[in-house]
Amino acid sequence: MRNIIKSQLYQLKFNRITIMVFVALIAFGIVQAFVQMDINLRNGKLLTGGDYAALNSSMQVVVAQMFIVVCAAQTCFGDFVDKTTNYELMSGHTRAQVYFGRVITTLVVTVPATLIIMLTPEIVVIAVNGWGTKLDIGGMLIRLALMVLPLTRYICEMMLIGFIMKNPYIVMGVGYVYFALGMQFYESQSLFLASTNLIALSTVNVWTTFGLDSELNYVYDTGLDYTVILGTIAISLLVGGGCVLLGYIFFKKDDQN
C-alpha cells in the first residue's frame, strides 16, 4: 500500500489540472480578501479577521466544494483511463491495498489542500488588519475542526462515484450536479447533505443593533447547538464510512475492464 500511495503522490506532482485549479483558487482567495477589505474601507469600516470569518465563511465553503470535486477526481481516478489499477493488481497488490491506498492518498491530499484554500483569504485579512475583538477565535476553531468531517464525507462520496464510474471527468460532472443541488438547499443548513452541513458550520449567528444615526453594531455568536455537533459527527462518520465501505465492496469484485 505504501508504494501505491507514493506512486499516487508522485503522479499528483505532474497533474496539471489539479495544480492549476489549486493555484487559481489561492489567487482568487487573496484577491477576494483585498477586494472585501477595500469595499469596507470605502464605507469607513475596517474589516478584521473576525468580521471576515463571520460574514464570508460560507462563501469559502462554496469555493472549497468546487475544489474538492476536481482534486478528489484527479487524485483518485486520474490514472484510471490508462488502466494503472490493472497493472497494480497484476503486479501483486491486493484489491484492498489498491483501494485503500488511493482512498488514503486522496484524503491526505484533498483535506489539507481544501483547508488551505478556505483559510487563505482569512489569513490575508488577519495579516493586514488583525483578528479584531468581536468574534471568539476559540469558537471558530471548533467550527473549523468540525468542518473537516463533512469535508471528508464529501470526498468519500466523490470517491464512491469514481470507483463505480471509473472516469475522473464523469466524477467531476456528477460532483458538480451534486454541488449545485446542495446550493439549491443551502438555506436549510441540513446536516444530511455535506454541502449544507458545511454551510451550517460556517454560518455564524450575527446580531445587529443600531442608533438613530450611527453605524450598525455587530454581535457575533459562534456557539453551536449540541444537536448540530453530534449530528455532524454522527452523520459524517456514518455516510462517509458507508461510502468507503460500499466503494470497497464494489471494487473488490469489479471487473477492471
Binding site: 468581536k134 464512491l160 438547499f185 444530511f192 445587529t208 438613530l212 460500499l246
Partner: protein, 544 residues
C-alpha cells in the same frame, strides 16, 4: 404530506419495484455498474432529507431506502428481491403514518422557544427598566411549549408565544408564526356587537350588527351594557382566551380597551343586561352569529380610522384646514437605502408652501395607526414644522464592542449615554396651529414624532388614547416556528432615562395634550353619522 416527502416515498416505492424486476439482470450484463442503481434511492433520500429536513414519521421511508443498499452488497437474486419487497412495504407505510400523526412536520416548539429565548435574554435592552425575571419566565413558559410538542398543537404554541410576549408590556415584542394563524379561535364568538369602555367608566355597545336580533332586542350603538354572561363586562373580558395574550404599554391604553374582549365570551348563547332606551334594565339572550375577530377588526377600524389618502399625502378638510396623512415613517426604498431624505424634505416643503399660498392656516398631521419606520422621516417632519432653532431628539445608548452590549451601571441603575441627536427647526408653517392626531397604534417612530413635537407651542397632540409608548429600535430572530421581534437598540432621553417606554409603573413618557373623551357623542358620530370624530375635534380646537 408535503410534496418532498411524497416524492421520497414514491421514489423508494418505484425504485423497489423496478429493482425487483431487474434483480437478476446485472449478472447477465457485462458491466457491473448496474449495481450502482441500488445506491440511487439512498442518495435521493439524503438529498430530499437535506431539502425537507428529517421527519420521524418518514422513518419507514428512510429505512426502505437504506434496505435497498443490500442489493448493492449482495448479488443474490433472492436477497435482492426480498430487499425490494421490504423496501416497497416500508415506503407504503409512510403514507398512513404521516397522514394520521398530529405531529407530522410540526416545528420543535420547545427547541425554538429555547433558542429564541436565549437570544432575547442576551439582547433585549429593557431588561433592567422593566425588571424582567428571565428565569421565572422560562420556568413558566417552557413547559407550555413542551406541551405543544407533546400534543402536536400549533394553537397551544401560538397561545404560549402570545402570552410570553404580553409579559413585556412592550409594543415592539411580538411573535409572527410561520404556521397557520389560530388567532380567530382565541377571540371567541360574535354575538352581533362589541363593547368599549367610555370615559366615564361605563361600558357601551359599539359596532352593533344592523337589522339583527341584537337591534330587535333593543341594543344599538351607544347602549350601556351592565352585564355580560352574568359578569361585569370588564371581568368578562378577562375570561376571554385572548386576555392573557394581549398587553398594553400604558395603563391608560389598557383601560381604554379593558372591555374590548368581553363580547367574544360565551357559548352558543350569552345573557346580556343593558339599559334600554326607556331607562329600564333589561336582560336578553343573544345567539352566536360568527367569529368575534371579524367584528372586532371592523369596529376597531372605525374607532382607529385615519384620513383615507396615501402615505405622506394631503387632504383638504375645510377652507382653513389641511391634513398631512402619515401612515408610516417610510418614504421610498432609495431614501431608505441611501439614508438621504432631502428629496422627501424638498417635496414636502414645496407642498407646504403651496397650501400656505392657498390660504390654509390650520394643519392636522394624522399619525393614527402609524406603526413606525425610519427616524430620518421623524427628523424631516420635525425640521419642517419645529420653531427655528435647535431641538433635542434623543440619545443613543452607549454600545461596547467588547461587551457586545449596551453599557449599564448596575450600582447606579443607569444606562451610559452615547451620541445625542438634535434637529434644526425651520418653522415652515409660520407658527400656525398644528394638531397631531394619534392613537394606540401610533408606535415606534410615530411615538418619537409625537414626543419631539409635543413640546412645541403651536402643536397639540390629541387622541382617545396616547400613542403606543414603544420607542426602542426593534429587530427579529427567526426560527422554524416563526419570528420573535423585540426591542434591541437602546434610546435614552435628555435625562439619561429610557426614551418613552414605560417601566413597571406602566406610564409611558409619550402623553397627550388633549385626551378626547370616548363617550356617547363620539359613538354617535363614528358609528351612526360615519364621520371622523377626532378630526372634527381637531378642527374645533384650532378654531378657538
Amino acid at each position: 404530506m408535503i410534496a418532498l416527502d411524497t416524492v421520497l416515498a414514491v421514489v423508494v416505492l418505484l425504485s423497489a419495484l423496478a429493482l425487483f424486476v431487474v434483480a437478476g439482470y446485472a449478472e447477465k450484463l457485462v458491466s457491473t455498474r448496474w449495481r450502482a442503481l441500488y445506491c440511487l434511492p439512498a442518495s435521493l433520500c439524503l438529498i430530499l432529507m437535506g431539502a425537507a429536513g428529517f421527519e420521524l414519521c418518514m422513518m419507514t421511508g428512510y429505512i426502505g431506502a437504506a434496505v435497498l443498499l443490500v442489493g448493492f452488497i449482495w448479488e443474490n437474486v433472492k436477497v435482492r428481491r426480498g430487499a425490494s419487497i421490504a423496501a416497497a412495504l416500508l415506503a407504503v407505510l409512510c403514507f398512513p403514518i404521516c397522514e394520521s400523526n398530529m405531529g407530522y412536520r410540526l416545528p420543535d416548539f420547545a427547541a425554538d422557544f429555547r433558542e429564541s429565548f436565549a437570544v432575547m435574554k442576551d439582547h433585549y435592552v429593557l431588561t433592567e427598566h422593566k425588571e424582567i425575571d428571565w428565569d421565572a419566565l422560562y420556568d413558566e413558559y417552557h413547559p407550555r411549549f413542551q406541551q405543544a410538542d407533546t400534543e402536536g398543537s400549533e394553537k397551544i404554541a401560538q397561545a404560549a408565544w402570545n402570552s410570553f410576549c404580553a409579559e413585556f408590556y412592550d409594543g415592539h415584542v411580538g411573535f409572527m408564526p410561520s404556521f397557520e394563524d389560530h388567532s380567530e379561535e382565541f377571540y371567541g364568538n360574535d354575538y352581533g356587537l362589541m363593547l368599549m369602555r367610555l370615559s366615564d367608566g361605563s361600558i357601551a355597545a359599539v359596532g352593533v350588527e344592523p337589522d339583527s336580533a341584537v337591534t330587535e332586542a333593543g341594543i344599538h350603538n351607544g347602549t350601556i351594557v351592565t352585564s355580560w354572561d352574568g359578569m361585569d363586562p370588564v371581568e368578562a373580558s378577562k375570561k376571554s382566551e385572548m386576555y392573557e395574550q394581549i398587553s398594553y404599554t400604558d395603563k391608560d391604553i389598557a383601560e381604554f380597551y379593558s372591555a374590548m374582549l368581553a363580547a367574544g365570551v360565551g357559548d352558543s348563547t350569552v345573557d346580556v343586561s343593558f339599559i334600554a332606551d326607556n331607562g329600564e334594565e333589561k336582560t336578553v339572550t343573544l345567539s352566536k352569529m360568527g367569529k368575534f375577530i371579524d367584528r372586532m377588526d371592523d369596529t376597531l377600524a372605525i374607532i382607529s380610522q385615519g384620513v383615507e389618502v396615501g402615505n405622506l399625502e394631503w387632504a383638504e378638510i375645510d377652507e382653513n384646514t389641511v391634513c398631512l396623512r402619515i401612515k408610516s415613517m417610510m418614504y421610498d426604498t432609495k431614501a431608505a437605502t441611501d439614508g438621504n431624505y432631502s428629496r422627501m424634505k424638498n417635496n414636502l416643503y414645496a407642498e407646504v408652501e403651496e397650501y400656505k399660498a392657498a390660504g390654509y392656516t390650520n394643519l392636522v398631521i394624522d399619525l393614527r395607526s402609524n406603526g413606525g419606520g425610519a427616524s430620518d422621516v421623524v427628523k424631516v417632519i420635525g425640521e419642517l414644522f419645529a420653531p427655528v432653532g435647535e431641538h433635542y431628539y434623543a440619545t443613543d445608548g452607549k454600545w461596547d464592542d467588547t461587551l457586545g452590549n449596551y453599557v449599564y451601571n448596575v450600582e447606579t441603575g443607569e444606562y451610559a449615554e452615547g451620541e445625542k441627536h438634535y434637529f434644526t427647526g425651520e418653522n415652515t408653517w409660520d407658527s400656525n396651529p398644528i394638531v397631531l392626531l394619534v392613537n394606540a397604534g401610533s408606535a415606534s417612530a410615530a411615538d418619537h414624532l409625537a414626543m419631539v413635537m409635543r413640546g412645541m407651542d403651536n402643536v397639540t397632540v390629541m387622541g382617545f388614547t396616547e400613542p403606543n409608548g414603544s420607542a426602542q429600535g426593534v429587530a427579529g430572530y427567526t426560527t422554524e416556528s416563526g419570528m420573535l421581534a423585540f426591542s434591541c437598540s437602546l434610546l435614552l432621553d435628555e435625562n439619561g432615562d429610557v426614551f418613552i417606554d414605560s417601566d413597571t409603573d406602566m406610564e409611558s413618557g409619550d402623553d397627550l395634550d388633549i385626551k378626547v373623551p370616548f363617550d356617547s357623542e363620539a359613538i354617535k358620530v363614528l358609528f351612526e353619522d360615519g364621520e371622523d370624530y377626532l378630526m372634527n375635534k381637531a378642527i374645533e380646537h384650532m378654531s378657538k
